[in-house]
Symmetry: C2
Subunit: 676 residues, 2 copies
């Protein structure tokens, strides 16, 4: 299997340095191709329908003219498509292509000295200087004659006719022929690529399904949705939630682990070390005699019930995302079946999870240094394949940064080869380079630091990093204002307005966002204790019964924002974002009002979002809309339609006043009608 792994993981290296068949006549240099991640080791990511803009430094010795093309294909294709690259200044060239269905694509840049164009522009200069060009015309005729020999049929005949004109006609007529657009087109159809340079790497692009780029997640614990409060809920119980959640505009329901829960060292309510007899335990303590990662917790239902739930969700436009947490309760069948996958202590027990001096005795970590890593990797990969077979395409992976990176590289790549429409969300809240490495290694989406970016400065800085650094090529953020683990202090203390503020920010800054739904909708804000981010009576350790119609809930607002996202392509992408200037009136940047413009790839949909970060006071300020980015004058008149409030404003020029009262709606989401 080792060989197999190698050939799978490094398959693109076959093509690396393929250029080594050495030809000293190659005079063109191609360098600094982008996107290229870690020398081509990792793929740039796109979703179906997006474009890949390729750049390269391309130059030759001397002053001859260069022609450059971008070659691209799906990896399974035998031939290549090609598109011309254009110079963009300072020896940089650019070209682009659109990606199609999910799968793997690759591209390569190729360039050569274009002797015909070099000759043609020299000819023109000599003619303009009044020089005799009879010899020049003969030189050109030879160049065209060679192209004729590469052509056939009508093209070849036409090229030979032109050769004859260059050689024999009156000088003025011959020069005219030399400059025919038809001749240039023919010459570019049959170029002399005998000394062409190909960039020394073929670079990969991962094409993901559209939902990897635009998704709206709702997390719920199915056991809390029994028809009768107090009972253990099931998949069948949860079916009644699907129309509600679908109507709210969510397209992913994410379920915490649905597997049998261990009894040994089970945690009780509020994370207590000793569980009461009727405590259901944490669903992340996976595995019991009833099964492990490919079994269902019996009270949730059967595999058929699960399939039915997934299928009915699809009818409401909702995909079910499973939580994959590779860790075991002491009761997990793997402990007996594969003892070498765990680290054993001298007393004959398995090493439990710890962060000294803290101990997590209900959880056994898997030992990725096991000598049996090959069987381990295969089994873990099979967990995904098992659930894919049951209709799941989206996986939220728990703490991937505590499992071996090479495993993820291999497993995600292997799964994706068979199932290119799968989506993997990395739940890693850890150091920046570790999170980036998981994204490079194949994760489609990543949890982020959004939850802890609360000030205007921090939000702008973080978005700028995500959207303008190399991260924008491979790391797709998924913004969550809360999770079952994280009730941020800002949500604890500032009531409903803060829930609205953070929801609008998440939903409009990132095209992928989600929430731990019932708690967020209902503005649950009580922590287990002051200074902690854990919820009081956390649903992780107990079955809850939520009253979804509780007064003060923000279901209507969430629904409105989600529908605005659906209707506006500008909000269905993350990287094209421009923060706007908002002045407080005394010439200083406003601290509390944040604003940003997003536009769709075709430029037709422009959304300006303005949020008041102050949950307590009305804030007003002067906003400068960047008309110059749209080729419009500073005094252009246009309309903005507030999609939340349903009101339209006439704006006269770039500076306009905005004011937001957090007690009603702390945000504008403007559809900018520049040519109204």
């Amino acid at each position: 299997m080792t060989d197999l792994l190698m050939s799978e993981m490094f398959y693109h290296l076959e093509s690396t340095f393929q250029n080594q068949i050495f030809d000293g006549r190659r005079r063109v240099i191609i360098e600094r191709v982008s996107p290229e991640i870690d020398c081509g080791r990792y793929a740039a990511k796109r979703v179906s329908g997006e474009s890949v803009r390729v750049g390269a430094d391309i130059f030759g010795d001397g002053a001859d003219t260069i022609t450059a093309v971008l070659n691209y294909r799906r990896v399974e294709d035998s031939g290549w498509s090609a598109v011309a690259m254009e110079p963009a200044g300072n020896d940089r060239w650019e070209g682009s292509f659109i990606v199609g269905e999910p799968g793997r694509m690759e591209f390569c840049v190729e360039a050569w000295i274009d002797h015909f164009v070099t000759w043609k522009s020299g000819l023109r200069k000599k003619v303009d200087a009044g020089q005799d060009v009879s010899l020049e015309l003969q030189i050109g005729a030879l160049i065209v004659e060679k192209a004729a020999s590469r052509a056939s049929g009508r093209d070849a005949r036409r090229l030979l006719e032109l050769v004859s004109i260059l050689n024999n006609a009156d000088q003025e007529v011959a020069v005219e022929a030399a400059e025919l657009g038809e001749l240039l087109r023919l010459m570019h159809t049959y170029p002399d690529k005998s000394a062409a340079t190909r960039y020394n790497k073929v670079l990969p692009v991962q094409v993901d399904p559209k939902i990897a780029g635009f998704s709206t997640w709702y997390e719920l614990f199915p056991r809390s949705w029994a028809k009768r409060p107090g009972e253990h809920g099931s998949f069948n119980d949860c079916r009644r939630m699907l129309p509600l959640i679908g109507r709210m505009g969510f397209d992913v329901i994410y379920l915490p682990p649905v597997h049998p829960i261990g009894k040994t060292k089970r945690k009780g309510r509020n994370n207590s070390l000793v569980a009461a007899a009727d405590d259901p335990g944490s669903c992340w303590a996976i595995g019991s005699p009833e099964g492990g990662h490919t079994a269902l917790h019996p009270e949730l239902g059967s595999i058929d019930d699960f399939r039915g739930f997934v299928s009915e969700a699809a009818d409401h436009g909702i995909s079910i995302a499973l939580d994959i947490a590779f860790q075991c309760s002491p009761d997990h069948p793997w402990v007996k079946e594969h003892p070498k996958w765990f680290r054993w202590r001298p007393d004959g027990t398995v090493q439990f999870a710890e962060n000294p001096p803290k101990r997590y005795e209900d959880i056994l970590p898997i030992d990725f240094e096991t000598e049996e890593w090959e069987s381990l990797w295969t089994e873990l990969k099979n967990v995904f394949l098992f659930w894919i077979d049951k209709g799941v395409k989206i996986f939220r992976v728990d703490n991937p940064h505590t499992k071996a990176f090479l495993f993820w590289d291999w497993a995600i790549d292997a799964i994706r080869r068979e199932h290119p429409d799968t989506v993997f969300l990395a739940e890693a809240f850890t150091r920046p380079k570790v999170m980036a490495r998981l994204a490079k290694g194949g994760y489609s989406q990543s949890y982020t630091y959004f939850t802890w970016r609360n000030t205007k400065h921090d939000l702008q800085e973080y978005l700028t990093e995500l959207t303008t650094s190399e991260l924008s090529e491979y790391m797709r953020p998924n913004f969550w204002p809360n999770t079952p683990d994280i009730l941020h202090e800002e949500l604890q203390h500032h009531g409903r307005p803060m829930f609205l503020i953070r929801m609008v920010l998440a939903a409009t800054l990132s095209s992928n966002y989600g929430m731990y739904g019932p708690a967020y909708e209902l503005c649950e804000n009580e922590p287990v204790m002051e200074g902690k981010e854990e919820y009081l009576h956390s649903e992780k350790y107990e079955i809850k019964a939520w009253d979804m119609d509780r007064p003060g809930n923000i279901r209507a607002e969430i629904t409105a924002v989600n529908h605005i996202r659906r209707a506006n392509p500008a909000l269905q992408q993350t990287n094209d974002v421009t923060f706007v200037r908002i002045d407080s009136g005394d010439g200083h940047e406003h601290d509390m009002l944040i604003g940003y413009v997003k536009k769709s790839a075709d430029g037709t949909n422009v959304i300006l979002t303005v949020v008041n970060l102050d949950p307590h006071r009305t804030q007003g300020g002067w906003l400068r809309f960047p008309l110059e980015q749209f080729g419009l004058s500073f005094d252009h008149r246009f309309q903005v339609e507030d999609l939340l409030a349903g009101r339209t404003y006439e704006w006269d020029g770039e500076w306009n006043f905005v004011s937001l009262n957090p007690a009603s709606t702390p945000a504008h989401i403007f559809n900018v009608l520049l040519h109204s």
Copy 2:
């Protein structure tokens, strides 16, 4: 030969991706190693005695402790040396090594999970929390026991003793043993590298001779130094210049081409198209029936004369640099011997150089697209080898950017394998990426845009780019205030002070600098016409007779500055430069006073240079010396010794007043005595 070329050019790729023997137990990731230029395709450059500071992003999954080492060696060695890398924050690690004699070195980064240190720090936390650690001690004993099995002799015996203490002693005694420095050292002597990660590339370092990093060039045309004015000078005539130039502190004399000069289409004085009978021609029109690139112009002397000149120069501490210009006069023997190395026109003539509509009919360019490129490359390489055999180690290459890049990559690498002490200066004044590519391809030094960087802003910006971007790893600037081709407008109009200003800037900003000596010393400032940078009566086209004692010459000042450079290591490197703030008094940055601090690698030599860029008026301002960079308080008292004026000042704190009168000396070069 094609195979040979391949194996030579890409030899370091053998080791690329050598890591593919795949082991899934490797949990450490190594990324973004620096210096790494274009994925390791090109070498970082150092001169003998400099250090290579290597950085890498290194991290593992989870929270285990990592150990990282930097391995390095000369490519001809079989074993590796290793040095520990240290964490530098944000998962970055650093380590360094010193390079020795000229040649090729390589390095690689290696890291692994350190189970012993991980265990030891967990043990400490558990002890501090009052937990029972008897089981922990047994676990540690097993780790140490494995190290013992990797060790032998006394170390193995000592490790086993410690195992016994961990297993059997009183808990307090055992914990003490676990934390012995001796144990840590032994464990690091016998590390468990069975799952170590090596970075996937071995990266090259080019070690050049010291003169590649610190050199002072004087260009002269030997034919102008006949003992009797009007005659054609010879190498023997030039011998009398050697003590003078040596005393001025120059260590390189660079000679324009010394080969036979063609007669066909020879250029006359002031670049006229028709030469008079006694015009000597441009020495760049190389080749006559008397020979080409491996022959000497007969009037300059014999090969023995040349050898004698080189040898006598060496006695004065001076190396002779030759100009290698790969182009031919129509009379060059290659035209007949290797007709396929040139491009022929339909009328049976060889294509001359042109930049339409301009024609340079005295020069035939070599066709690097020739099908006979292998014989061409070999012959061109042999030109260098021929002159190396005659004692030349330094080559200034004329317009390398109009010859194939791949040729330079190959030729310089091939020559350097045999002669690692050779130095190549690229005379390319062209676009930034082209100049960078030549440097990456092996050139030891590069001409720059210095000549056209005249304002404070432009100089600071240019130096910052050269010294802080990736260029600093491979492109060594060589600053020239003039050349026989370039008499900058600033030198034409501002008299002797401007010659002093530009000389001091070149000599103190760049450790490599040079001048077209006689013209510069004498402040020659007359252009061929207003608006042109060519000299009137250019020495390129005629034999000159210079009166080196002409009043107003700046020999004394040049000599002083060159001797200051020799005495101060801070000025013998380029990359460690910090521009200082100089205020005009009204709180604004001074436009005309520029200042910069350089320090030697060991920090003991600190030079502050201040230059008045205004050649006409005295300028004064407040200079802020960056005491904080030296760990000193803003109010520190210290001395600065002006090495040009021979005066010492007491400076009280960071802000001090400086004033420079361009009519006397437009610069201070301060030796900063921080602890005087």
